[in-house]
Symmetry: C2
Subunit: 108 residues, 2 copies
Amino acid sequence: MNMNHPNIDKISLEAELLAVLAQPTRLRLLYFLRNGERCACEINPKMQEDPSVVSRHLVKMQQVGILGYRKEGVSKYYWIKDARVFGILKLIDAMLQDHIREQSQMIA
Amino acid sequence: MNMNHPNIDKISLEAELLAVLAQPTRLRLLYFLRNGERCACEINPKMQEDPSVVSRHLVKMQQVGILGYRKEGVSKYYWIKDARVFGILKLIDAMLQDHIREQSQMIA
DNA sequence: TACATTAATGCATCACTGCGCAATGATGCA
DNA sequence: TGCATCATTGCGCAGTGATGCATTAATGTA
């Protein structure tokens, strides 16, 4: 998301930020970082994707302000910078719950 | 989003629902429907996209439980069924605000 | 019935995104 | 300096999504 672009309206920015969240691997990274900062070297062994893929996801989330990072030697530590993402996920989960419940009633 | 698929975990469902929101045209439709139900024939003239495109977006949001609908004659009326989407957008906006403010400080 | 209106669908195109592999950077250490 | 580790970048591939046009479906009306 390029915040410096002059001709992007509010809705497009909203869509872009939502798009960053709308990816399973990135969501898995967020849940993993929920317990505190971790370096990519700790994250990578727990992910199924190639380290390059994980790196790109982490960088992307850092660029839009979801994650913070610091370098320590060769390692790079990431943490949740904007915990509101979990507020969003809470709402998403509630929506899913209701929708699934409704689907069940459709069948029954 | 196919809720009947047996092998989809929670994170994938969250990502799919977020992906439905992460689209400018669909967000515009949500804001437009915020004031109450509207039929596609009322919406279409206000949108830049082809009616077929708008139709697909509306159907998709209805399928995942964001919108409700009713038919009246040849017209089809849609409305916001799950207002939590606006709670999500409120959080998204707050995140964007903070991020933009931070970007400004980086430059200054 | 014939016609008009409204919405959805088939289809092709275009663009974008995620992915893995290979190569490159960057840092620390022997 | 040489080597090892960690992270990023270049690149091509495959899958997906948004779009517009043309067509079909569904309903209402003269």
